[in-house]
């Protein structure tokens, strides 16, 4: 009797254990509790969207509370504040990250926990393609899960201005250059606005590099496997010079002083085109109340006919989990949640695209639909500035400011030599 009871209990326990083992971690996550700390540096509309995402997670997991740790910012680059927080002993479970070079720094410092096991157990292969997994990996180990991405080769324009000038979104580089005179005649004296005070002037160079030399060359340049003085790099910068010499923009001094946030800049009546990240979409929709596809739209970077027109620059944001976080179970569940339908759809409503197949694509507006279509049909390369070592990226931005002041071949040679000199010591 005793033995039979024991055997029955043993069998029951075994069955229960087997059942538990078979249950997906998503289900186990329902019983999560405790505080989840997120190193969160986004502000404005992005910050509000993030709060909505967190609120949804808490709604699904009432036992969990979320505390955001917001590091001090610094002119568009939050890494300084994030490093200060981490070195200062701040313990967080999740880090929001958009810089692959910073991920490597975190990994080298032993701060990040690999997520390959979670990838398998949560079944993220069903939601994210291998290319997104590769994007968050270092030497075959996955550390980041991408939850949003943006097309950085999309040129924003104001529909009414192009209509007034009697032009349609230019498809080729020649059409693009030719549109400047028409826009000027229509009363828009600086058809392209380039905010060059900090970093946005590098966007044009980065897409031109892709379109003139391809993603492989751009990747090699990022890793300094080819020098900055390589003819391919010079060709890209000379194309940039061509645009400036065609009268695209305001005086260099004006470009170098522009720092206004993109919504303010976008409301300027002087300019029509802007090459900027996809977060512009969220800002225009939510901050300025403009209608996507009606008041503004985008077209993909014009073709150059140099054999690399199927390339685009992209950015992405990912989540990393830490080795010392106090609530790893909740952190892992949050990673699963961020690529799930609830979080993806919140982001889509704000105007952001998620790489997850769980996102309801019908929620994307016309602008995001163009962007996601362009990215999916392109060979993509991550934003060059986010791949370069910190020391080099600063010199790169300053030297391109010099280039803007006097875009001649001699300046191009001088500027590239200066960046190369810095690169020689930066890796």
């Amino acid at each position: 009797m005793f033995n039979r009871t024991l055997r029955r209990r043993t069998v029951m326990a075994g069955v229960m254990l087997a059942a538990l083992a078979g249950v997906s971690p998503s289900v186990l996550a329902q019983d999560l509790s405790g505080e989840l700390v997120i190193l969160q540096w986004q502000t404005g509309t992005d910050g509000q969207m993030w709060k909505d995402v967190e609120a949804k997670f808490v709604e699904l997991h009432p036992g969990v509370t979320i505390r955001e740790f917001q590091p001090a910012g610094g002119q568009g680059d939050a890494r300084g504040g994030m490093r200060t927080a981490l070195l200062g002993g701040e313990v967080v479970d999740i880090i929001i990250n958009t810089w692959p070079a910073f991920r490597a720094e975190l990994v080298n410092s032993g701060i990040l926990r690999p997520i390959d096991d979670q990838w398998a157990s949560f079944g993220w292969d069903d939601k994210l393609s291998q290319s997104w997994r590769d994007l968050g990996s270092i030497d075959g180990t996955t550390y980041g899960i991408t939850y949003t991405y943006g097309d950085r080769s999309a040129i924003w324009y104001k529909t009414a201005q192009l209509e007034k000038a009697g032009i349609t979104p230019p498809a080729t580089w020649e059409e693009f250059l030719a549109s400047f005179d028409k826009l000027k005649a229509a009363g828009y004296p600086a058809p392209v606005v380039i905010p060059a005070k900090y970093w946005a002037h590098t966007e044009w160079f980065e897409t031109l590099l892709l379109r003139t030399a391809g993603v492989e060359a751009a990747a090699q340049l990022a890793a300094h496997q080819i020098p900055w003085t390589d003819p391919k790099v010079k060709t890209a910068l000379m194309k940039y010079a061509e645009m400036l010499q065609a009268g695209c923009c305001a005086e260099p001094a004006t470009m170098l002083a522009i720092e206004q946030p993109y919504p303010t800049l976008y409301t300027s009546e002087d300019s029509s085109y802007l090459l900027f990240g996809m977060w512009t979409n969220s800002a225009l929709k939510n901050d300025l109340g403009l209608t996507e596809g009606v008041d503004y739209s985008i077209f993909q970077f014009p073709t150059l006919g140099m054999g690399f027109d199927d390339t685009s620059s992209v950015d992405a944001k990912e989540l990393n989990v830490t080795t010392n976080g106090a609530n790893p179970a909740a952190a892992d569940a949050f990673l699963d949640f961020i690529v799930g339908p609830e979080a993806s759809n919140i982001m889509a409503n704000y105007g952001y695209a998620s790489p997850s197949t769980a996102m309801d694509a019908s929620l994307l507006g016309p602008v995001q639909t163009i962007a996601t279509g362009a990215v999916s049909s392109s060979k993509v390369q991550f934003v060059l500035g986010d791949l370069l070592p910190g020391d080099l990226v600063d010199e790169y931005r300053v030297q391109l400011q010099k280039f803007l002041q006097n875009p001649t071949e001699a300046t191009v040679d001088e500027v590239l030599a200066a960046i190369e000199a810095k690169a020689a010591t930066a890796y």
Partner: protein
């Protein structure tokens, strides 16, 4: 026999009273005696502790960090004076030294000379110029970040900028990007910093003029001196101590300038306005090269000491 508080602390000759053996009698608690030196240390201890925590420790740690190569979150590596060698071979840093020198001398010269001149003029009608002096001093009290944002709008590159709009009255359509042009950005910053700093020299020089004995001025008037002569031969020379203090304070402030540069230009365009203070911030906080940034900090500290120590010695030379 117990004396009053005033008697206990100071005898008729003004010397603290001692109850023999170098002991100071504290009158508040009858019969309590405490040695003078420990009492002094006890009283000064809170200040020393706070000074140690907030100044000495960070200073020593900054000097220590300057001997390490610290990049991002990577472990620190001892490099000895390597950071200093790199620093003085770094053309960017050498450029910031020149920029700092121009900025420091420019703002000090403009704000002190303007403040001094205004003080001279105000001294002729001290009562009637009180509101004016008050307003000028307010600029000194405004945070540099706030005044930076205010001046950003005044110096806007388009026609909506106040300065461009005023010039546009005389030159229609005029628009210059004061902060975007590397040739004008530093001078625009110097002007703004001088505007912000003119209140203090004005008050110091005005106070120095006010301390001139009235008998000296009355004697000059009775001798038939004109106001311009009084200003030139009496007020200006006798207000020099105030001017020296103003120069000293302005030099130190300008050397350490950061807020206004951060807000208005971010060190640009093309590093045209990057001073040592901003370089230090950029290297330490943006590039997160803490050791290198610390070395720049130490260099700046030495520059401040080079100015401060002679000035302090000179100011305290007569003190006993």
């Amino acid at each position: 026999m117990t004396r009053s508080v005033a008697e206990a602390v100071t005898d008729r000759s003004g010397v603290p009273s001692r109850a023999g053996g170098g002991q100071l009698r504290l009158p508040i608690t009858r019969g309590w005696r405490i040695k003078e030196a420990p009492a002094a240390w006890l009283l000064i201890a809170p200040v020393i502790i706070l000074f140690g925590i907030s100044v000495v420790y960070p200073l020593i740690d900054t000097i220590r960090l300057s001997f390490f190569d610290i990049k991002g979150l990577a472990p620190a590596k001892w490099v000895g004076i390597g950071n200093y060698v790199t620093l003085f071979n770094d053309p960017t840093f050498r450029g910031t030294l020149v920029t700092t020198l121009i900025f420091t001398l420019g703002t000090t010269a403009i704000s002190v000379s303007l403040g001094w001149a205004l003080a001279m003029l105000c001294a002729f009608a001290p009562v009637h110029t009180t509101p004016f002096r008050g307003m000028m001093f307010v600029t000194f009290g405004i945070s540099e970040a706030v005044s930076g944002y205010m001046w950003l709008n005044i110096l806007r590159p388009d026609k909506a900028g106040l300065l461009n709009a005023i010039i546009g009255i005389f030159i229609p359509g005029y628009a210059h990007s004061w902060l975007g042009d590397p040739n004008t950005a530093l001078w625009a910053l110097i002007f703004v910093a001088s505007w912000s700093g003119v209140g203090l020299p004005l008050m110091l020089c005005f106070a120095a003029v006010q301390s001139i004995p009235k008998t000296v001025l009355e004697a000059a008037y009775m001798d038939g001196a004109k106001p311009t002569s009084i200003m030139r031969h009496i007020m200006m020379p006798l207000s020099l101590p105030g001017v020296r203090v103003a120069i000293f304070i302005n030099l130190l402030g300008a050397l350490r300038a950061f807020d206004i540069i951060y807000v208005m230009t971010g060190g640009g365009p093309v590093r045209a306005t990057e001073t040592v203070g901003y370089f230090m911030y950029r290297e330490s906080m943006t590039q997160f090269k803490l050791g290198y940034g610390a070395a720049a900090t130490v260099v700046l500290l030495v520059a401040v000491l080079v100015i401060s120590i002679p000035a302090i010695i000179q100011r305290t030379a007569g003190a006993k």
